[in-house]
Amino acid sequence: MTAQQIIFLVVSFVTLGSALMVVTSRNLIHAALWLVSTLFGVAIIYTLLNAGFLAVVQVVVYIGAIAILFIFAVMLTRKDMRDQSPQLNRNWWMGALLAVVTFGGLFSLLQSWSGFSKTAADFPSGFDAIGRLGEALVSPDAFVLPFEVASVLLLAALVGAVYLAFNRK
């Protein structure tokens, strides 16, 4: 077992454990903080996959913006949830059953696929993944249109969020 594999196992156990805490913990602030831990684990997974840029974006966008936004939203909407009322709805066992069935189905589907235990090819020497990613994002014969559409989507979301949360009193 190589060092990479040990790192992967430790990180994935931490990630899955904190993901379980996200969906089960009573206090929503704690759930949001466990989400930060999960997202950090996923960032380390990106690093193991040689996607350094995505790891940095994960830390900056997901942890720095989205998780903090969640914590603010929890603080702005907490009144009744922490005390007596249950955190899970009446049919939570059905949700658990469906999740287990989904995992089993995905796993057996993937196991029947021939490329399931493929190992990665080595990087060709001088391969500049980040440079290629940047070129692909702005080159007209690659992904410039989805990139621009994403920026329009973000603008629309910004306007929509301000409009919805604006206090008209």
Partner: protein, 102 residues
């Protein structure tokens, strides 16, 4: 080297946990937390297929970046909706938000 199956199993597990959160939490903010977990699982899959497939094709990473942008937009609008509903109805429990139910 780590085989591809490990990444795919991790992402399937993360997706299932997120699905459980979406289906069984009562608080609307917690439901959005579950959605975030599912989006992250999908991203792990996309990046893993980029790494284990053709390295010259950047589609996996580009798609992951688009998913980042969509997740940011979804969280911004979703949390704004929840805060706005909380102001009017004083609750964030998804069962109680039945204005559109006939």
């Amino acid at each position: 080297m780590i085989p591809l199956s490990w990444f795919l199993t991790l992402s399937a597990g993360l997706f299932s946990i997120g699905l459980f959160g979406v289906l069984s939490r009562r608080n609307a903010v917690a439901i959005l937390l579950g959605v975030e977990l599912m989006l992250n699982a999908v991203n792990v899959n996309l990046v893993a297929f980029w790494r284990y497939g053709d390295l010259a094709q950047m589609a996996g990473q580009v798609f992951a970046i688009i998913v980042f942008a969509v997740a940011a937009a979804e969280v911004a609008v979703g949390l704004a909706l929840i805060i706005s509903v909380y102001r009017r109805r004083n609750t964030v429990i998804a069962n109680d938000l039945d204005l559109l139910k006939w």
